[in-house]
């Protein structure tokens, strides 16, 4: 290998191209340190004249190499093949169809369990938990509110398909397709019943989370649902300590409490639950000849079996009617109150947006407030963009938050009001049956219902004694 030019280029590493550009502030420290270190070497002199363009210039021309030297190439690993994302959608459709078949026609808990293991492996560990239907809500929201955002078609499919299936078959997506549901279903080793009042109260949270996720996504601030996804770090086998700790906490709680994320946080589950109420088919037990044995209720770890109202337990139906009227009157009040409260929160919420926080930082710096400039403010000043432009953009974002936060608050008010009404309203059903909104179609009740066991055995051609209530001995 030879150096370019003559022998005087023995130290090509310091042959800086002289440049009159002044040194940048941050480099002085380095320059001095380097200077002390290599003082006396011609290098030091060259360093003094170091130019400092933001991204380096060719200060040291590369040497002329011997033909024998093979210069390594920079590797450029390709992105995931596009075809594979269509395969994902195809697998999603197949899994949804199979889950619906297994839950509603085959009524097979084992089948659902096997499918959920597959989904956990495919959508969880192989696909690394992303794209997922839960997070896709945010893509949809951002695409609706921001015309500049282009949502990938496959993400759109992950958002829409489970909803369409839920409109016909109930929450079969939750049963055995969602990897987050699958991992919690498998972790549930020692189910403990939670009181139904707690279920109802915590049932508000998924809607609040959904509203917040849409608010922050639609304003282009953050995808909080992805940020606080408890299991994605496990699926990727990589993540911050916070994410891993969150996942571990959910799994440990999930050993005792059935699907804590699905029931008390999952924003997509909230959507699916709403849709599932109007589903054409749902998971049902044997409503014709229910024995009222309550085994299904005991077996359901998710509190989804609705108690039949054999006789109205309320001591005073008139009082209940009065309460319902009062709650119905309270509902608009809660909505207005929520909207007002949301409006109060719009400024703190808007700080989640990078532009707003940068504008506040720049304004504080310009006003002479004490504090170090941040990387963002330094980078902004380096671009030379006028501050007014930044302020205008920040105000526009804040305007979006002013509207969005009010809607969010009003929505939370509506959800609280509707929950209060639904827990007070009388129910008409007379048999034990899964509640379509809460039931995740896991199929546990099938293997516990005595009537269902008999039915399955009969179909298989086995002789079974007819199951009727036995009195006496």
């Amino acid at each position: 290998m030879r150096a370019k030019g003559s022998s005087k280029l023995q130290t090509p590493n310091f042959r800086a191209t002289p440049d009159p550009k002044p040194l940048m502030e941050g480099s002085r420290f380095w320059k001095l340190k380097l200077f002390h270190c290599f003082a006396g070497v011609a290098a030091g002199l060259a360093l003094l004249a170091l130019p400092l363009a933001a991204h380096g210039v060719e200060r040291f021309p590369p040497p002329e190499f011997d033909p024998g030297y093979k210069m390594p190439a920079t590797t450029v690993p390709a992105a995931r093949a596009e075809l594979l994302s269509y395969v994902d959608v195809a697998v999603l459709v197949a899994a949804l169809a199979l889950a619906s078949y297994l839950a509603l026609m085959k009524r097979s808990r084992d089948g659902l369990l096997a499918l959920s293991v597959f989904s956990l492996l495919y959508f969880g560990f192989y696909q690394k938990g992303c794209v997922c239907a839960i997070g896709s809500v945010q893509d949809a929201a951002l695409a609706v509110f921001n015309s500049g955002y282009v949502v990938p078609l496959t993400t759109l499919a992950f958002f829409l398909l489970p909803l369409v299936f839920a409109a016909f078959f109930g929450r079969t997506f939750c049963a055995a397709v969602c990897p987050m549901g699958a991992i919690q279903d498998l972790a549930l080793l020692k189910p403990v019943k939670t009181p139904s009042w707690l279920d109802s109260a915590l049932g508000v949270l998924p809607f609040v989370y959904l509203g917040a996720g849409i608010l922050f996504a639609a304003t282009g601030s953050a995808f909080i649902i992805c940020e606080y996804d408890p299991f994605v770090a496990l699926f990727r086998r990589s993540g911050s300590y916070g994410m891993i700790a969150l996942g571990a906490a959910f799994l440990i709680v999930g050993i005792f409490i059935g699907r804590p994320y699905c029931r008390f946080l999952c924003p997509y589950g909230a959507l699916l639950g709403l849709v599932s109420r109007f589903a054409k088919w749902n998971v049902t037990l044997s409503p014709m000849d229910c024995l009222h044995c309550q085994i299904c209720d005991t077996a359901c770890p998710y509190g989804a079996i609705a108690d039949p109202m054999l006789k109205d337990p309320h001591p005073n139906p008139h009082r209940r009617t009065r309460r319902l009227i009062a709650l119905a009157a309270l509902l608009p009040l809660l909505v207005v109150l929520g909207g007002w409260f949301g409006g109060r929160l719009s400024v703190p919420f808007s700080r989640m947006h990078a532009t707003v926080s940068l504008a506040e930082q720049i304004a504080a710096e310009d006003a002479g407030k004490p504090g170090e400039p941040t990387d963002a403010s330094k980078a902004f000043r380096q671009t030379g963009r006028p501050v007014e432009e930044l302020y205008a953009e920040a105000l526009r974002v804040r305007g979006g938050f002013a509207i969005g936060s009010r809607w969010f608050g009003a929505f939370v008010g509506l959800v609280i009001g509707a929950t209060l009404i639904s827990v007070s309203a009388p129910r008409k059903q007379s048999v034990y049956d899964p509640d379509p909104a809460d039931c995740v179609s896991c199929g546990r009740c099938y293997i516990h219902c005595p009537k269902e066991i008999v039915r399955v055995k009969r179909i298989a051609g086995k002789n079974v004694i007819p199951l009727t209530p036995v009195r006496g001995g």
Partner: protein, 177 residues
């Protein structure tokens, strides 16, 4: 009956939403990449990525490298000696491999599995060298989140979506001059 009506209404709504969303969607796949000419080497790529270590790593574009003996991307500002001792290296994980060619030239290679994307070497190379070290999203690791956490945190707004078939924004010698 009511259920059927509600279901119909829901499906209608969903259809409307699909139409709106479909117009805003595209089949052409894009991936995240950062513009090395905008990068300010703030270290957030190492800390903000949903992966640990980050999907952003340092790359070396050899034709731009000066093959310097005193590489300011490799050595601490005040090295005890100019050798491969860990105390002399800038890289916190020792991810830069140094190989002696004919004196005074050295070849520097990134040992990617070790690189955490902290950009310490990038800063050194950009400030005092040719800038042949720079950060790139490595697509064998990037999970292509729809909303990239680093892109949100990036103070220089250097992250953008690029076509999946051209997923890198490399520096080159011509651009430099």
């Amino acid at each position: 009956m009511l259920n059927g009506a509600m279901r119909g209404a829901f499906l209608f709504l969903l259809g409307a939403a699909t139409t709106v969303l479909f117009r805003r969607s595209q089949a052409k796949r894009t991936v995240w990449q950062l513009d090395p000419y905008k990068c300010v080497q703030c270290n957030r790529c190492a800390t903000e990525c949903v992966l640990k270590p980050s999907a952003v790593k340092c790359v070396q574009v050899y034709p731009m490298c000066g093959y310097c003996k005193l590489c300011t991307g490799y050595f601490e500002p005040e090295p005890v000696s100019l050798d491969t001792g860990a105390e002399n290296q800038l890289c916190p994980t020792g991810a830069i491999k140094r190989r002696a060619l004919e004196d005074p030239y050295y070849e520097y290679t990134i040992d990617e599995p070790r690189c955490i994307g902290c950009a310490k070497c990038v800063k050194g190379c950009v400030l005092f060298g040719n800038g042949s070290f720079f950060l790139q999203v490595r697509h064998d690791r990037c999970v292509n989140c729809d909303e990239c956490a680093i892109a949100i945190a990036c103070p220089a707004q250097a992250f953008q979506r690029v076509p999946a078939d051209k997923p890198y924004l490399m520096k080159d010698r011509e651009h430099q001059a």
